[in-house]
Amino acid sequence: MTAASATVPRRRRRFRIGSLLAGAAAIVVFVASVFPVYWMVNTSFQPNAQVRGSELHFWPDNATLDNYTSIIGGGGRAPFLPALGNSLAVALITVAVALVFAFFAALAVTRFRFRSRAAFIVTILIIQMIPAEAMIISIFRLIDGWHLLNTIIGLSAVYIATVLPFTIWTLRGFVNGVPVELEEAAMIDGLSRSQAFWRITFPLLAPGLVATGIFGFIQAWNEFVFALVLNPRPEAMTLPVWLRTFLDPNGGINWAELMAGSTLVAVPVVIFFLIVQGRMTGGLVSGAVKG
């Protein structure tokens, strides 16, 4: 250790270099995260001829909506508007039903003690890990048996089962976050148990319900495997499957249109995600910090 007077400036200099490096790293992380999104939107507003040109355009100079109008018009393939309608319908039905069912189940496991409660929670956690790909065959046969292939109801039913475990698990956390004492205080003040729940606890849970619902919506909106297998007809497709019809490895891929399509599929999710993320990050690992 040398004299203190010598170490202080050296440490300060090192600190300044450290901050500079951190700033540079921050910008690298930002660019790496954002570049694909920016490149998607940038390409989607350029004419295809320009996209296939020999020059890069980092800004859509000859900005055009042609890609959007042509891809929405169908471009000779599956039409966009029915796919959008199907995606919205399936996602909304999934969220509505799954949220109600999961809410009831979450109440049962948080506000009551009963036999096999722990077994139920363990089952929920394990089911969550079963990959959809492993289930496609038997689920295909199930839905086919019900004559619900290529229907909104059939796909929604499968999605409800898919998002239920996660929704129950997350809502359980939110319900646990509201102290029972609040309800009990209300009951001392003369409310019945169900009145106390609906007037006191439920309003406190509303943000959690919204966040969980939006997350379920995103899952249903993005889901690909089941939609591909269960709803292959053009009029029954959801947006991800619709988007895939533009991927044709044999013919040339029209990248400008494809980027417009990808943007259309991504925009609702990105908006919802920005709304919801803060609330959900904790869900999967809640309580883990306490160690």
Partner: protein, 336 residues
């Protein structure tokens, strides 16, 4: 609705037996918490079952029943004819024998495991580094990084894959352009997806790009909870940056790291959308199948549902084995 009688016993009257381990499933060790719970314990009689019923019915019919069907199918000779009504023939473990003696299955399995391992390790390292970076940055730069990460996180996997496919495109891709015209390398017309190793390089980038934000945000949330005093004390005791990280910070956030790693393993082992659509953009399916895509191609592509069922069962067992760790962790942390 009758109010349940308050139970004098803080422990639940009917101790449930854990399916995992007989630990901490009945009452939390914290006396205050268990006292609070106890006021409701034993309550409701029929009510909790009624509340569970809708979810249970859905899961039994749409998850449980197909799972049973899958098991049955995996011990039957089940091809296209059977899909259209021909009675399937019971062949015992024949499908499993076929699958386990098929070199392609082992190729796909080892490819998936190696691929998942590379993705998980890369994601975890980058995610933790970004989290440490965010912990260090000032408010402005941290917001900038957060916004970028959120955008990447929010991209639907299919859109993300297609966009990366466009960036890596052979003829007009921006990457080949930059490598050729800016760095003077010979990448004009380079086919990134044709070579399996290169294909998985691209796939790794897509998956890591999409997964780092989750890891970074979660680990960052953990880092903010590491008490400042402990770090200062360690610094006063002469611990350097690396020592402080590995000896103080890591033990604090270890539970988070464990859960996040397990989730990544599960998600990366079952990856489907990215590989499947990347194969549609370019790339040879036979040499780039991972487990999820392989099941799809064997059963719905080739029509051998029996073998597909056997592979599915093996994959389910594999993932359930991995997720047991997650389940145990969750149960422990949540102190049910």
């Amino acid at each position: 609705m009758p109010t349940p009688p308050a139970s004098p016993n803080p422990v639940s009257p009917s101790p449930a037996v854990s399916a995992v381990e007989g630990e901490r499933l009945t009452a939390p060790p914290d006396p205050a918490a268990s006292g609070r719970r106890a006021r409701r314990s034993g309550g409701g009689g029929f009510t909790p079952y009624a509340l569970l019923m809708p979810a249970l019915i859905v899961l039994a019919v749409i998850t449980g029943w197909p799972l049973v069907q899958l098991l049955i199918m995996s011990v039957q000779k089940f091809g296209r004819a059977q899909v259209f009504g021909a009675p399937p023939e019971f062949i015992g473990l024949g499908n499993y024998l076929d699958v386990l003696t098929d070199p392609e299955f082992w190729q796909v399995l080892s490819r998936s495991v190696v691929f998942a391992a590379v993705c998980v390790v890369t994601t975890m390292i980058l995610g933790v580094l970004v989290a440490l970076l965010m912990n260090r940055l000032g408010a402005v730069l941290r917001t900038l990084v957060s916004v970028g990460l959120l955008l990447a996180w929010a991209m639907p996997p299919l859109s993300a894959t297609i966009v990366w496919g466009w960036i890596f495109d052979t003829q007009y891709g921006v990457l080949n352009y930059m490598l050729t015209n800016w760095l003077g390398l010979d990448f004009a017309g380079h086919q990134w997806l044709i070579e399996p190793l290169s294909f998985f390089f691209v796939a790794t980038i897509i998956i890591v790009w999409g997964a780092v934000p989750f890891v970074a945000f979660t680990v960052y949330a953990g880092l903010t909870q590491v008490p400042e005093e402990v770090l200062e004390a360690a610094q006063l005791d002469g611990a350097g940056g690396f020592q402080r990280f590995f000896l103080v910070v890591v033990p604090f956030i270890r539970p988070i790291l464990t859960i996040v790693t397990i989730l990544q393993v599960i998600w990366d082992l079952r990856v489907f959308t990215q590989i499947y659509s990347l194969q549609s953009i370019g790339g040879l399916a036979e040499q780039t199948n991972t487990l999820g895509v392989y099941i799809y191609r064997v059963s719905l592509g080739s029509g051998d549902f029996g073998a597909g069922g056997a592979i599915s069962v093996i994959v389910v067992l594999l993932l359930v084995a991995v997720s047991i760790f997650y389940v145990r962790r969750s149960l422990k942390e949540e102190a049910l």
